[in-house]
């Protein structure tokens, strides 16, 4: 599904290479986790895949079901089925959460040549999905993420994911800023979306999120590369021993 080959990326503003040859394949139906110390390039990978400005790809490729992601505009990547749950969801004063969701859902449907959802159908769908994430009517009416707590923002990300039904979901430190209850709620939201056709890439510092969202494969990223891959036991190893042992082992 998602296939990243020898991806090299530097910051546009300064001549600094952040990703130094990332190789990664996420299959449909699987959950891959990326762990790694601060500054290893995890978030950069998520931004480059979703099309944020400020990065230059100097080598390598990233494709989603054969489509060259790096050639597409951010909105085209979204319409192709890619979704990034932001580490820091953006506040948009003046744009109602509901308007935002409806515009996004219908823009993607339009881009894929599907019919737009009617106001009634949309409302029904959003109420159903919001309920599962304990998002009340007030949160839906408020401007996007404005005045939301950390937990509310992350739940709102998962709501968007549930509404947009992407094929490939990237979660960038979705556990940051969450208490135990919120983490459980968010994880349940993610787990409800797991199915055979959908791939997940879960970026996290800590193993605890992976107690809730159980990964099939765990990758360790360091200095812009995937340095080790393994099963869920790799996350436990990090939790117990830190990154030091693993990094020393691959050095």
């Amino acid at each position: 599904m998602l296939s990243i080959n020898n991806l090299h990326v530097k910051l546009e503003e300064e001549d600094k290479e952040i990703l130094k040859g990332v190789d990664l394949t996420v299959e449909a139906g699987k959950v891959h986790a990326i762990m790694g110390p601060n500054g290893s390039g995890k978030s950069t990978l998520s931004y480059v895949l979703s099309g944020r400005d400020g990065y230059e790809v100097t080598d390598g490729s990233a494709t989603l079901d054969g489509d060259d992601l790096l050639e597409l505009e951010p909105e085209e990547r979204a319409a192709a089925g890619l979704f990034l749950a932001f580490q820091y969801p953006v506040e948009i004063p003046g744009v109602g959460n509901m308007t935002f969701l409806r515009t996004a859902v219908n823009a993607q449907r339009k881009a894929r040549g599907e019919e737009e959802l009617s106001a009634g159908d949309f409302l029904k769908l959003v109420r159903e999905k919001a309920k599962a994430l304990k998002i009340d009517a007030d949160m839906l009416m408020r401007p996007v993420n404005v005045g939301f707590s950390g937990g509310e923002k992350k739940r709102n990300e998962i709501l968007q994911m549930a509404m947009l039904e992407p094929r490939m979901c990237i979660l960038d430190e979705t556990d940051s800023g969450l208490d135990v209850d919120a983490m459980k709620l968010v994880s349940e939201g993610v787990n409800a979306l797991r199915n055979e056709g959908r791939g997940f890439l879960v970026i996290t510092h800590y193993q605890r999120l992976l107690d809730h969202i159980k990964p099939d494969v765990v990758h360790i990223m360091a200095d812009g590369k995937i340095v080790k891959s393994g099963g869920p036991e790799l996350a436990l190893e990090v939790e117990n021993n830190g990154y030091g042992d693993i990094l020393a082992e691959v050095a």
Partner: protein, 428 residues
């Protein structure tokens, strides 16, 4: 005082070309008084404090700069509303296109008719509020208007009127020079909505005096047409009684030069005055809001909300003042002027002023200039919203605080639709 000499010379030279219109006794007196005021202050010059951001030349010149007539290829604003329609074509009343000048709860007639009488109720307002608005800042184009306007609408509202009055200003002559002067008196407990739509003329000087008695309410929504080359200098003078309400919203999309002035005096306790504007300019566009609100009563609220979206060399200016007189305690004054600069060529100049002589008041003001929030834009795009649509959504969000000042949903929806149309036509 070399420049003052020049300014008065210019004024006298202009006045030599024109003579006061003929009329009944009351209006002749009002016109003569206005002419005397104009002579004493002179036409605006570039060195006048409140004309530093805007060049007055083309607003006062004997020749009218030509303005191509623009076909917007869309239904007029507020076309679907049930309304009392009054049409002026290049400043000339069009009886055939207008509704009958009558309605429940209103007395309405043309200024041309009212001015023929020797005595008329309008004499307590016509030129009176304008004259009050000449202190402390001169507004010579308004004095000119009082002296030389021959038509407009004179309306007295005696009840709560649900059907809006819509002045529709059509522009058909590329060199038209129109002057209109309206007088609105909202009697105690009465309420009316006044709509003004259209470009009016190649050059338009319009003045409106609004006297709102105790418990009265006046709602004003204006859309200044989409002609690119038209020029306009407009004034609103308002006087508010106890527990009265004044709300005004203006949409300006296009126009080579627009100066919208408002002078609002809050004279009665517990009154509310809101004035808002949304301006959209792409290219040769200069838009000036000059607002002066005086609090002279206790426990009153005023809001000034002005938003401008500028690109491609467009210029926006804002001069806004809140004056709180001694004794105007418990005043709640708010002023915000903001611009969204869609590229590096656009420009916004702002001069917010507060002058407060009471000690128990809450006044705040703010002025900002900024670009589209790139983070928000990426966030929207990452959810599949195309760049153009995402930018429009953010522009509308920026304008929302001004549009929220429109109370009637159907009117706000029409305005919002016009904004969306403009944005879709002016994407980068």
């Amino acid at each position: 005082m070399a420049h003052a000499q020049t300014k008065f010379d210019v004024t006298e030279a202009r006045l030599a070309d024109v003579s006061l219109p003929r009329g009944g006794r009351w209006i002749t007196e009002a016109r003569e008084a206005a002419l005397a005021r104009l002579r004493a202050m002179g036409l605006p010059g570039r060195r006048d404090e409140y004309w530093k951001f805007t060049r007055p030349d083309t607003l006062i010149s004997a020749d009218v700069p030509e303005a191509a007539v623009f076909d917007p290829q869309e239904a007029p604003v507020f076309d679907d509303l049930d309304k009392l329609l009054i049409v002026f074509v290049d400043g000339v009343f069009d009886a055939d296109a207008s509704s009958d000048l009558s309605g429940e709860g209103i007395e309405i007639e043309r200024l041309a008719t009212a001015g023929e009488a020797d005595i008329h109720w309008a004499k307590d307002t016509y030129g009176v509020l304008e004259a009050r608005g000449q202190t402390p800042v001169h507004r010579p184009l308004a004095a000119w208007n009082t002296a030389f306007a021959t038509d407009g609408i004179v309306v007295r509202v005696t009840d709560k009127v649900s059907r809006p009055i819509n002045m529709r200003y059509l522009h058909k002559d590329p060199t038209s020079d129109a002057i209109l002067h309206h007088v609105v008196r909202v009697e105690s407990g009465a309420e009316v909505t006044l709509l003004e739509t259209g470009p009016a003329a190649a050059r338009f000087n319009k003045s409106m005096e609004v006297d709102v008695a105790a418990g009265g309410a006046f709602h004003h929504i204006r859309s200044q047409g989409r002609d690119h080359e038209r020029r306009a200098a407009t004034h609103i003078f308002a006087r508010l009684g106890t527990e009265s309400v004044f709300k005004s919203f203006t949409l300006t999309a296009n126009g080579v030069l627009t100066r919208n002035e408002a002078f609002i005096e809050i004279m009665g306790d517990d009154a509310v005055a809101h004035i808002a504007g949304a301006a959209l300019g792409d290219g040769d566009f200069h838009h000036d809001d000059t607002v002066f609100i005086t609090h002279d009563a206790v426990n009153c609220e005023s809001r000034q909300v002005f938003k401008k979206v500028l690109r491609n060399g467009a210029v926006g200016t804002f001069q806004g003042k809140i004056l709180v007189k001694a004794g105007a305690q418990k005043t709640d004054g708010y002023q915000i002027s903001q611009s969204l600069l869609l590229d590096d060529d656009a420009q916004f100049l702002a001069k917010p002023e507060l002058e407060i002589y009471a000690d128990d008041v809450a006044c705040s003001h703010g002025s900002t200039s900024g670009a589209i929030d790139e983070e928000a834009l990426f966030y929207l795009r990452s959810r599949g919203v195309p760049a153009g649509e995402a930018a429009d959504l953010l522009v509308l969000a920026f304008l929302a605080e001004a549009i929220d000042e429109i109370e009637r949903d159907d009117i706000a929806d029409d305005i919002r639709g016009r904004l969306e149309g403009w944005l879709a036509r002016h994407r980068s």
